[in-house]
Symmetry: C2
Subunit: 263 residues, 2 copies
């Protein structure tokens, strides 16, 4: 047996998240089934972490064990031929036998996309904000998230996770468009009014990003004071935070490993 790593992109709209659950479509099940077909042996796939119902991924990482003689280019093409169109294997590489997609991940980055303008294209990935919103206030508030804190206030109450301490390295709303038309690279795609919240941390609790975004939006709308985030963190109680933001704005963008694991 040998260990392999997959980079997987999916549009989560039609799935009950990554993780296998009986009776409902999940991405993990689709990928495991496709691998089992391609490898002609029962294959289980282990992801870097769950994503919730309706949440997307650009760079979900997973590992599996199979025959050491796999042709990886052919495997990737076969998998993409079998997988539904909303799931794609971007990359397949061989990794060391001890590599673990979840335990070895040192940070994850999520993106949450909103637009203050009405949305028609990519509407399954962008949430339309209907009211006035102050991104500068949200960015001031988001600075309270940086560093190592107990994130119980942003963790789903049913979660069984005991350790709720996370280290947030980055938490910032970034405009996707650029006023200047001088630099080609900056002038791509971005539409006035489209913003992305980028958050990177060593780990995330269940529902954490959506609870953070939901609370920040309340600050942006002026319903909560800008300084409220520190109070919410200190409360260590989910009811102190705002409602979860809609799932469809959220994408697991990237998972980082100390060593790539690839050999």
């Amino acid at each position: 047996m040998a260990r392999y790593q997959l980079t997987i992109e999916y549009d989560g709209t039609a799935y009950h998240g990554w993780q296998y659950q009986p009776g409902v479509p999940t991405v993990q099940q689709e990928v495991s089934q496709a691998l089992t077909t391609c490898c002609r042996e029962a294959v289980d796939v282990v992801g870097s972490g769950r994503t919730d119902t309706g949440v997307h991924a650009r760079g979900q990482i997973a590992h599996f064990d199979a025959n050491p003689d796999l042709n990886l280019e052919r495997l990737r093409n076969s998998l993409n031929g079998i997988l539904p169109p909303d799931v794609a294997v971007v990359l397949a590489v061989r990794v060391g036998d001890s590599f673990h997609a979840r335990f070895d991940a040192c940070s994850r980055e999520y993106h949450y996309r909103v637009s203050t303008a009405p949305v028609a294209i990519e509407r399954s990935q962008r949430v339309h904000i209907h009211r006035e919103i102050a991104f500068d206030q949200m960015n001031q508030a988001a600075m309270a998230l940086l560093g190592t804190h107990d994130y119980s206030s942003f963790c789903r109450t049913q979660s069984e996770t005991r350790n709720r301490v996370c280290t947030v390295e980055k938490a910032v709303w970034i405009p996707e468009w650029e006023e200047s038309t001088s630099a080609d690279r900056l002038n791509l795609g971005g539409r006035r009014g489209d913003w992305t919240f980028v958050i990177r941390a060593d780990r995330f609790l269940h529902g954490m990003v959506r609870a953070i975004v939901g609370t920040l939006l309340e600050i942006g709308y002026g319903r909560r004071p800008q300084a409220d985030l520190a109070r919410v963190l200190a409360a260590r109680d989910r009811v102190a935070a705002g409602p979860a933001a809609k799932a469809r704005g959220l994408t697991l963008h990237h998972v980082s490993y100390n060593t790539s694991g690839a050999r």
Copy 2:
């Protein structure tokens, strides 16, 4: 009566293009119908130009005439409430009575998106390139497009347009991702392997962008020499160019006017 200008975004997947055609769904018809309902009078809407079946728009511009007392914020919200989810009015402004969405446009910019990696998210806007492709060769070749030329070789043969001279200001493939992670603004969204062809011209003939992209892709694949584009242009014959690239990669990104027209 007063004249108004709309900025319209649409996912063209389900439409036979912008322009009204009997018996098939078109974006122009959807917008005219919605305006007629909202304004309580028969309203015709005039676009900056056609888009083909399956082609998208981020910034289609259109004008219409209606009652001078329209509340534009309310109109926009009403239109978006009536329009199907794949068509959105981004902006509605009043313009001078002589403003014309088509005749006053001084340039249009189209984007064509491809990816060398398999695609799951935004797959109705990106075309997966399955083989080896040389973007540097395509960019060298694309320089032959710049300036004023007769574009008959890139015009659909059934087109009734007599004047086939266009002035192309910009024609370049741009990578959407950035190696460096230092600048937040550059590190957004872009996935390794995603490229956008940006082309801006004073006018475009029927099928012109897709014929250009199709020909450039053949150069990128090594099927045509890099210098072929000048020969194709000089031929003034559609058969000299390559096949039309798939519609779904193409988006009308922006239409420019010498004066905004807004008053």
